[in-house]
Every structure is written in structure tokens, then in C-alpha cells.
Symmetry: C2
Subunit: 219 residues, 2 copies
Amino acid sequence: MGIAERKEREKEQRRQAIIDAAEKVFFTKGYDSSTMDDIAEAAELSKGTLYLYFQSKDELHFEIMDRGNEILMGFMEKAIDPEKSGRENLRFLGEAFVEFSNRYPEYFQAMMFFQSRDVVQQKLNEQKLKKFIEGRSSISLLNAMVTKGIADGSVRNDLPVSHLTTLLWSQMMGILVMYSTKKPAFEYQQISRDQLVSIHLDLVRDGLKPRHTEDSGHE
Amino acid sequence: MGIAERKEREKEQRRQAIIDAAEKVFFTKGYDSSTMDDIAEAAELSKGTLYLYFQSKDELHFEIMDRGNEILMGFMEKAIDPEKSGRENLRFLGEAFVEFSNRYPEYFQAMMFFQSRDVVQQKLNEQKLKKFIEGRSSISLLNAMVTKGIADGSVRNDLPVSHLTTLLWSQMMGILVMYSTKKPAFEYQQISRDQLVSIHLDLVRDGLKPRHTEDSGHE
DNA sequence: CAATAAAATGACCGACAGTCATTTTTTATA
DNA sequence: TATAAAAAATGACTGTCGGTCATTTTATTG
């Protein structure tokens, strides 16, 4: 009996349709200013129905972040050139990130600024956490390229992979977030984002080079 | 007649008392979960009175951020050693930032996570913007040390001061924010924040060295 | 064509930021 | 000191919104 399967399919379609609607509304009015009734109207459903598919407004936000992450992953995977060294690929990944934020600014925003709501802080600690570290995430790609870089000798091997990876990710995130939130200040100082990122990636590239000298004073 | 002056003084005292109360409540329950009635109760005033002194809940948040910024400034000013090179001082500033976030985690949180609310985004564009760039802000201190570093030859001079400054600020911010929001993930990977920051500061120190010359004469 | 199950609805609730007519307190005036 | 005027404070009230649930509508089954 294919009815069950069809129902399953329809349910998933409706789920996606709701996310589509939420996306449209969020991207237009911003998260805080969007109401569940707005989303319901956009989805041509009643508010109650939304709650049959999602537990909360926050959950809709999460779904959109997931979509963004998928897209970002695509960009990054495409950017990798297996022929090139790990260190070169790390630069490609950085550039892919920027390209993503240019091409999909709304997704980028959604991914950047979901932090902060105190509620959200807790929810992460569960399944999402594992996903963040091990799952199909952008970080895992970054991790792979750091590892590759160390293996092929293009990246210094005196620093732990996990530390380098998170460092690269956090730094880039910090730059892009800062630029987004303080854009007018940057423009006022005539700092373009591409310039900034380019300088950053240059500094990182140099910083990752293997130390040919045995010095450097950290532990 | 000192009545006007006394009133002025009392008004300012009450203002501060309200901020004190808001601080207590925000730091205990978190911003989103705190209600204006909570704050009113803590301040032993009615809610209406709060609105005679502040326009909104957000404004109270801003005030607390300002306090945090003052404290941070103090830390940074104290950290500067005029005898040492600009490049060394930049490291001191980084360490001061971390120390601040250890000593005053609630202020730190408040300063980190005020971004995101879509409303807030707009409000910055006005006076706050100038303050951010030119005012008595942590960034201006950073800027001064970059400038000093270039002048004394301890920092490479082939990159614009403004870019370097914002880069350093954004990177550090990114690392600390990421660590705060994803703390469990970091702990799971046994990455300590101090380690991470230390590696970051090392990389920065190396990256800032003048190119083409192995200048270390100012150390 | 019932009987039943699944899906959808929208009126309703509680919580909360913000308002404002009224009351209380302080100051100025005579 | 008595009283008018100004300043400060109050808290009942409003509108909004996320989330709920008893009821209705639609689809499935026998």
C-alpha cells in the first residue's frame, strides 16, 4: 500500500514548504520582526499547523541555518583542489567562505547571528554539538585540509590540528561578523571586506608555513 | 541655590541605581528572560519610572555594555608598557582582553552578544558609530599600538594601520565568541581557551614582524 | 456510506514591553 | 505655614506575539 509512502512524502513536502515560507519572511523582515502568523500566511496555512511540523520559531531558524550550512559545504567542497597542497587549499576554503557570504548574504546572516539568544545556547549542547564537531560540517573540511597540509609538509607541524582548525574558523568568522555588524564604520574608514580578508589570508598563509628555524618561544 | 544641582545629582544616582538593578537581573537571568518588572522590582521602583530614565530595555543593555567597555579600557591601559615596542604591547593588549573576559565574564558576555537583535543593528549607525571609531574605545588603543609599532619598526609597515587594527580586533573577538558559544565542543576536543589564545597571539606576533628583515632589536 | 483516523484550524491564553492618566512628593510663592 | 505649581513616580491598561488545544474539516477504511 503506497498511501503511507505518499503521506510521508507529502508531509516532507509540506515541511519544506513551511521552511520556504519562513525563509522568505525572515529574509524580508528579519527574524525578530517576523511573526508566526506572518509565516503561516506566507505558507497559506494556519499558525496551529506550523506547530504540527515544528516545535518553535527557533526551530525554523535552525532549519534555515542547516540549509545555509549545506550550501556553504557545497562551496567549500567545490573549492578544494586535491592536486594542490593543504596550505593552498586552506586559502581556497577561506575564499569559498567569503564567496558564500557574498552570494547568499541572507543565509550567511542567519548562520552568524543565531547565537546570542540565551535559549539557543542550551539547545546546542545536545545533538547539534556532535554534528558541529564530527558531522558533515564546514569545520570538518577545514580540519581535513589542515591535516593534509601537515602530511604534505605545507603546514607547520608543531601545532595541534584541532587548535589550528578552530583558530582558522574562529578568526574568519570574527572578521566576517565584525564586518557585517560594523559595516558603516568600516566603510567610513574605507576598509573593504575583500581587502581585509585578503590580508588576513596572506597573514595566515605565512603563519602556517613550516618553521625552518627551531626557535619561536611558545610552549 | 543648589537645588538644581542636587536634583541633577540625584537623578544621575537613580539612573545608576537602575543600571545596577538591570545588571543584577540580566547577569542572573539572562537578557531575554529578564523582564522590565524584574528590573523595576530589583530597583524598588515601578516599571513606569524606568521609562522616565531609559527609553527601552535595549537601552539598558547598552548602558551595561558601556560599563563593560570602560572596564576593558582600564585593563588595556594598565597593560600597556610604554617602554616596550608596539608589537609587544599588542600582545599585552590581547592578554588584557582575555584577562578581562575571565575577570568579568558577565560584562564580556553582554558585550559579545548584543549584536544579532535586528533592531540593534540600526541604532549603531548614529552616535555609537563615531564612538566606536574615534571615541574612548578599546579599538583606538589597539590602533595606537599598531601605529607605535610601525613607528618603532617592530611592526611591518606594508599594511595599512586601519586594516591591521580591525583585523586584530576581529580575530580576537571571533576566537573568544566562538569559544563562549561552543564551549562544550572545545572542551570535548580538549582545547583550552588560554592555549588557543596563546597560539593565536604567537602567530600574530610572527605575522606582524617586518618583512625582509629579521628585526627583533626592540625586544 | 458510515465510522474512524489524520490533518488543519483559529479562538484563546499568558507573558511582556511599553504608555499614560492619575497620584504622590517636592519646590516655589505669599 | 498654607497653598499653588512643578516634578517625579505609579500601576492599571494596551497591543503584540509565541504557543496551545478543543473543534472542525478532510482523507482513509471497511
